[in-house]
C-alpha cells in the first residue's frame, strides 16, 4: 500500500526542507541579531543552492508519482476548485522565485543585501506552499488526515528539517547566537512533536471507521515503524541537547559541535521519514470504500 507513496514522501519532505531552510535563513540568519560580521557571506549562497536543489528534487519526484507525466502541464487547469492544482501552482511559483533569488545571489553578490525583500517574499511563498500541501490531505473521505494535525505536522517538519541542516552550515562560520538558536530548534521541535504524539493518538483512537478503529489499524500494521519513529525522536532530542552544550563562544573550539550536529540531523531526518511514512499509512477511507 505504501510502496506507491514513496515518491510523495520524498516530494513532500524535499519541498518542506526547502521551505524550512528559506524560512529559517530569512527569519534568523539575515536578521541583525544573528548575522555575522560579513554581510551575506558566500556560504549563504550555498544555503540557497541547497534549498533550490531540494525543491528541484521535490519537483522531479512529484512527476514520478504521476501515472501519465506527459499530461503534467494540464494540472494547472483547475485552480478554481482543486487543491492539487493549487499545490502544483504554488510549487512552481516557489521554485521559480527561489531559482531567481539564488541566481541573483551568485551573479550579483554585492547586491545581495538589497535583495532581502526577495528572500522575504520567497519565504512567505514557502509558508503558503506548506499550507496548501497540507490542505490536499484535509478531505472528509480520509478522516485520519482531515484535522489540524496535518498542517501542524507539515510546518514542524519544515522548521526542523531546515534548522537542523543549517546548524551544520553554521559550525565554522555562524555567530554564537545563531548556533545557539538553531541548536535549540533542533531539540525543541522534536520535543514538541513527541508531546503532540499522544494527543494525536488519543484523537485518532476516537475515529471509528467502518473498517475498524483508525489507531488500532495503524498500530496493528505499522507497530515497528511506530516505535522506530519514537526512538529517533528521542535520539534527535538527545543529540540536539548535546549540540546545544557543545557550542562555545570561542570559535576555535567549534569543532566540538560537528559530531552532535551531524548526529542530530541524521536522527531528525530518520524520524521525519518514518513520520511521513506513517502519515501516508493513515490513508484510511471513512466508509471503507
Amino acid at each position: 500500500m505504501i510502496g506507491k507513496e514513496w515518491s510523495l514522501i520524498v516530494f513532500s519532505m524535499a519541498m518542506q526542507l526547502s521551505a524550512g531552510i528559506i524560512l529559517i535563513y530569512d527569519l534568523f540568519l539575515l536578521s541583525p541579531l544573528y548575522r555575522t560580521r560579513v554581510d551575506i557571506p558566500a556560504r549563504f549562497q550555498w544555503i540557497l543552492m541547497i534549498a533550490l536543489t531540494a525543491a528541484l528534487v521535490g519537483v522531479a519526484f512529484s512527476l514520478m508519482h504521476l501515472g501519465n507525466p506527459g499530461n503534467a502541464t494540464r494540472t494547472l487547469a483547475n485552480l478554481h476548485s482543486s487543491w492539487l492544482s493549487r499545490e502544483i501552482f504554488s510549487v512552481l511559483a516557489y521554485t521559480l522565485l527561489l531559482a531567481v533569488v539564488t541566481i541573483l545571489h551568485f551573479t550579483m553578490p554585492s547586491a545581495a543585501r538589497s535583495l532581502k525583500w526577495m528572500v522575504d517574499f520567497t519565504a512567505i511563498s514557502g509558508i503558503v506552499l506548506v499550507f496548501i500541501m497540507s490542505r490536499i490531505y484535509m478531505i472528509p473521505t480520509r478522516p485520519a488526515w482531515n484535522s489540524v494535525f496535518t498542517p501542524l505536522g507539515f510546518y514542524l517538519a519544515a522548521i526542523i528539517l531546515g534548522s537542523s541542516l543549517l546548524l551544520i552550515f553554521q559550525i565554522n562560520h555562524g555567530s554564537w547566537a545563531s548556533q545557539k538558536l538553531l541548536a535549540i530548534l533542533s531539540f525543541s521541535i522534536p520535543l514538541i512533536q513527541l508531546a503532540i504524539l499522544p494527543v494525536f493518538m488519543a484523537w485518532l483512537g476516537q475515529k471509528d471507521l467502518v473498517s475498524g478503529n483508525a489507531l488500532a489499524i495503524i498500530l496493528d500494521n505499522h507497530m515497528a515503524a511506530f516505535y522506530l519513529r519514537l526512538g529517533f525522536f528521542i535520539l534527535a532530542i538527545g543529540f540536539g541537547i548535546w549540540a546545544f552544550f557543545s557550542i562555545r563562544s570561542d570559535t576555535l573550539r567549534n569543532h566540538l559541535l560537528f559530531t552532535p550536529a551531524i548526529l542530530a540531523w541524521a536522527a531528525i531526518l530518520a524520524a521525519q521519514i518514518i513520520d511521513r511514512y506513517l502519515f501516508y499509512a493513515q490513508n484510511l477511507p471513512a466508509e471503507g470504500f
Binding site: 499530461n71 492544482s85 490536499i136 472528509p140 467502518v210 473498517s211 490513508n283 471503507g288 470504500f289
Partner: protein, 209 residues
C-alpha cells in the same frame, strides 16, 4: 436535462458478483480494476433474551456499488486537469487525453469509484455503459443481474417506481455528494451500525495497485 441513475435492492442481492464480472468483461478490465464492486457487510453481537439465554444477533448483506454519477461529484472538484468532468445526461466521465494519473480523485470519492489503471497510467470508471444507452439498452451490470437487484433508468422514473431513499449503511450520507442511486435497504441494515458491522471483503474489492 435527463438525469440517469441506478437502483439497487440490497434486500435481494445474493452477492453472486455477476454484475461485477459482466462489467469487467464488457469493459475489458484488467486484474484489480473493478468499475462495480460487491461489498459484503457483516456484523454480529450476543444479547440476552427475556429468558436469560444468550442468543446471537447477526446482520449480513451485500452492496453492489459503482460510480453513482453524483450531482456534486467530489472527484470532479478534486481533479487538477479537469479530466474528470460531468458530461451529457449528468454522466461523470474521465477524459483519457487529459488524465495525469495522480489518483487524487480516488482519494476524494467516498465510494471508491475511480479506478487506477497502471498499464495506461490513468484513471478509469463506470460511464453507465454510455454506448449501450445510446442503443436504448441498459448497462451490462443491470441486465446481467440474476436477482434483478439492479435497475437503471432516469432518476425521475426510478423515484416514481422505488421511492427516493439513497442511504444505507455504510455508504456515506447522500447529502455529501448527491449520488444518482436509489436504494432499497436490507432489513438488517437498520441495526448494522449498532452491531458494528463492517465490510468483510475489503481486500478483495480494493484496488491497491
Amino acid at each position: 436535462m435527463t438525469k440517469y441513475g441506478f437502483y439497487f435492492d440490497s434486500s435481494c442481492c445474493s452477492g453472486c458478483k455477476t454484475c461485477q464480472v459482466a462489467c469487467k468483461d464488457k469493459n475489458d478490465l484488467t486484474e484489480g480494476i473493478r468499475f462495480r464492486r460487491v461489498y459484503e457487510v457483516c456484523g454480529s453481537a450476543w444479547e440476552k433474551d427475556s429468558k436469560g439465554t444468550w442468543v446471537p444477533d447477526i446482520v449480513a448483506y451485500n452492496l453492489s456499488v459503482a460510480c453513482n454519477h453524483c450531482e456534486n461529484p467530489s472527484c470532479v472538484a478534486a481533479c487538477p486537469t479537469k479530466a474528470m468532468h460531468i458530461g451529457n445526461d449528468g454522466i461523470v466521465l474521465v477524459d483519457p487525453d487529459k488524465c495525469v494519473g495522480c489518483r487524487y480523485c480516488e482519494w476524494a470519492c467516498p465510494y471508491g469509484a475511480p479506478q487506477y489503471n497502471p498499464q495506461k497510467g490513468i484513471m478509469q470508471k463506470c460511464d453507465f455503459c454510455s454506448d449501450y444507452i445510446k442503443e436504448g439498452k441498459k448497462p451490462v451490470c443491470v441486465t446481467s443481474c440474476l436477482m434483478r437487484a439492479l435497475d437503471f433508468d432516469t432518476l425521475e422514473n426510478l423515484e416514481s417506481h422505488y421511492g427516493a431513499n439513497r442511504d444505507v449503511f455504510p455508504l456515506p450520507h447522500s447529502g455529501q455528494t448527491g449520488p444518482a442511486v436509489i436504494i432499497k435497504a436490507h432489513p438488517g441494515a437498520a441495526k448494522a451500525k449498532e452491531l458494528k458491522a463492517s465490510i468483510i471483503n475489503r481486500e478483495e474489492v480494493r484496488n491497491d495497485r
